[in-house]
Symmetry: C2
Amino acid sequence: MNLDAAFSALADPTRRAILTRLALGEATVMELARPFDMSQPAVSRHIRVLSDAGLITQRVDGTRRPCKLAPEALSEIDRWLAMLRDALTRNYDRLDALLAEMKNSSEEKNHE
Amino acid sequence: MNLDAAFSALADPTRRAILTRLALGEATVMELARPFDMSQPAVSRHIRVLSDAGLITQRVDGTRRPCKLAPEALSEIDRWLAMLRDALTRNYDRLDALLAEMKNSSEEKNHE
């Protein structure tokens, strides 16, 4: 999966709503078009973007082509965000350690 | 924060690298430009996009304008992804329950 394409696909409220719907279970383009009050071609274009980004997959079931979420793509996004959050937390921990050290040495000075 | 703008800002590898750098601590545009081998105006443009999306903040410190990550923006993205993952998990749980029910009723049939 390509993080550029994934984040770019997520930058649209209709595509995020389609993903939220698909998290509840498979749906065809026709089933997706109904609640969104969109034309099937418009939904199909969004499905293409989500599919190209690896966020959903489409399988053939007779004449139906149901779409489903690709959980491993979400995992990759989660991993990237977790890496960022971990770096941020480690940085806070370093600052905390530094502040504690400064506090200790100033207390030691006061006791001198 | 606007999720459209945030995801759109994340859809660029240089901007993701800038965020990773800022997770380690504050940095000025000049400090950011150095390791990325980019001109300061190019970095400034990326900083503007990240700042408009609410992913970073910039403070004034004399003549320096250090940038830092805005952790609450990351939290909002996390919340959206968690909502999606929860819906997905609940759906899997429902499928598991349904499969267990089908298994039980077929076993009961075998015992009749």
